[in-house]
Amino acid sequence: MSPVIIIVLKRLGLGLLTLFAISILIFFAVEMLPGDIAQAVLGQGATEENLAALREKLGLDQPAPVRYLQWLSGALVGDFGTSLVSGERVSEAISGRFTNTLFLAAYAAVIAVPVAIILGIIVALLRETLFDRVSNILALTAISSPEFFLGYILILVFAVNMGAFPAIARLSGDLSFLELLHRTFLPALTMVLVVVAHMMRMTRAAIINLLASPYIEMARLKGAPPWKVIVHHALPNAWAPIINVVALNLAYLVTGVVLVEVVFVYPGIGQLLVDAVSKRDFPIVQACCLIFAATFILLNLAADVGAILTNPRLRHPK
């Protein structure tokens, strides 16, 4: 086996192990409740019979490791039990909303990735100029602003003052694809702003790092035109950091989506999670957390594997 495959397999194994550890953390965190779930749900005033009935229903009479294995094997096939509040199947509550969230994240990513990379490269080429400094300040501002601040500014400008886009991204009935894009434009734009700033800064740093290396200097000295230096010499080595940047920011999108969904009342999994937390609906909280954490870990994993695969030193070992 080539060393690349071994490294990739090792990394995948580590990722799976982390995922496993996270699932343990998520499951047993609920076990740390003072009392138990039944007590927490029914409150202090619950009668003994009610408590016993709920414990029976939740299977709390079995030891925790057994319940963990049942929960995990269920989660692997998409069955997360039933909601404590509505009695609905958790998988039903989640499935549609998860698609919505993925759609929103993908929408934002499709706009953000090319814009950020192109901007990052331009800023790296124009470094130490006024343009670079201004864009650095703007990027810092966008990163430092909470998502809801950007979201409400966009609502004020585009929805209230200009009336160009709806302020609330409600998805009801049959919407054509264009209509869907129009309705979800503002939440997507909010995430684009935050992520583009992050990605731009990281791309800039990666490219500047690269342009400082001796072989680029050599290419310049031998008289290669600037575009050729970038496209032929710098870019092949820049893919690794850029792929890394993109995957890390997609992972960031997954978390940022929670606040954005609440601002725009978007029917996604983040909103569901926030509702479930305030109602203390543990099966839904656990399921949402597991999904978010798994997506986050998988994207980080993709970043690492991408970096390994695009590393020329690993692909062509001596």
Binding site: Y152, C289, N300
Partner: protein
């Protein structure tokens, strides 16, 4: 064409001509590109768009002027060594220091500055601003300005407490791991990996759903979530110091681990740790503000910037900017800290790109 529009373009073109004449290349480029952009904006948005640009430019000029004056002020009152450092600070860093300073004043003297109490109902709901209510009233008729001032104390104070706790836990564990090495080091490293592999907001939500929203618990949870970052940095920085000869000498003298950490390693790794404290504060502050915005952080009637945004959010659909004020305060303070941290990192690394 109103006089304003004519004057606007005349000023811009005149200023760019002057800049070109005095060979201020970057200033000329800025002014002239602004003129070109204004043409497009003027055609699309009309006079209001140009007003927007004017007000924006005025605000930026005001901020730059304040930062400049504040830097000069600091240089004058600071002792000579610090003054030399401060003189080289960029305007953005001076601006950051100014905002942090203002916020600190608001935190300390909240009781004196705020005209009303933080939970005091003094008028009808959503009353518009007048001379008594600087920024109007919120959904229960409480003075927004007073709540903003008290919010500085509550939100920032809570974030500071959580950051400090995260720092103490992370730095102590990191220093101890670097000095001891072995099993403890390995175990802490793996735990840090696991905590860092869960998105922070999600982790916080999970923990809050279990332990309920209580201030002490909130601080502890946030501190646990962010301590691995400090742990890693301290571990790395201290790892470089531990291999030095003077540590070896101290060990041979028979000094204990605690002495080594306190007297030898810590003084030699403070610079990156201070910058990290600023960064960490930004993360913690944004997380706490986000949680409060979701209604899961600081609970009413305590004034807090995140929940103030949430409480007044409905106003935004009437074109009222009230909910943007506390949100803007959060953004402003985070930007300010980031500016200062940027400068400190630049200074300590000596990076000149």
């Amino acid at each position: 064409m109103s006089y304003f529009v004519v004057g606007y373009y005349a000023m811009l073109i005149g200023a760019s001509c002057l800049a070109a004449h005095f060979k201020q290349r970057s200033l000329f480029l800025l002014l002239f590109s602004l003129t070109l952009v204004s043409f497009v904006m003027g055609i699309i948005g009309g006079a209001p768009a140009l007003w927007f640009v004017t007000v924006g430019a005025g605000l930026i000029a005001l901020a730059a002027g304040t930062s400049y004056a504040f830097r000069e002020f600091l240089v004058t009152i600071a002792p000579p060594e610090t003054a030399k450092e401060l003189r080289t600070a960029p305007l953005t860093a001076a601006f950051g220091l100014f905002v942090i300073f203002t916020c600190a004043i608001a935190m300390v003297f909240a009781d004196l500055i705020a005209p009303y109490g933080e939970a005091e109902v003094i008028s009808s709901a959503f009353a518009p601003p007048d001379e008594n209510l600087l920024l109007g009233a919120d959904q229960l008729g409480r003075d927004i300005f007073s709540r903003l001032i008290y919010g500085a104390r509550n939100t920032v104070g809570l974030a500071l407490a959580a950051t400090a706790l995260a720092f103490i836990m992370g730095a102590l564990a990191g220093l101890y791991a670097a000095t001891k090495g072995g099993m403890f080091d390995q175990a802490m490293g793996r735990i840090a990996d696991i905590i860092m592999s869960v998105p922070s907001l999600i982790f916080a939500l999970l923990m809050l759903s279990i332990f309920g929203t209580n201030l002490a618990i909130l601080v502890i949870i946030v501190a646990i979530i962010y301590s691995p970052r400090v742990f890693r940095l301290t571990r790395a920085v201290a790892g470089n110091v531990v291999v030095m000869d003077y540590i070896e000498a101290a060990k041979l003298r028979g000094e204990g681990t605690w002495y080594l950490i306190r007297k030898e390693i810590l003084p030699n790794s403070t610079a990156p740790l201070i910058a990290e404290f600023g960064l960490e504060f930004c993360f913690v502050f944004l997380l706490i503000a986000g949680l409060s915005f979701l209604g899961l952080g600081i609970q009413p009637p305590t004034a807090d910037w995140g929940s103030m945004v949430r409480e007044n959010a409905t106003l935004i659909s009437f074109g009222d900017i009230t909910p943007l004020i506390p949100a803007g305060a959060i953004a402003l303070l985070t930007v300010a800290v980031n500016f200062v941290v940027d400068w400190m990192l630049f200074r300590s690394s000596g990076l000149k790109e």
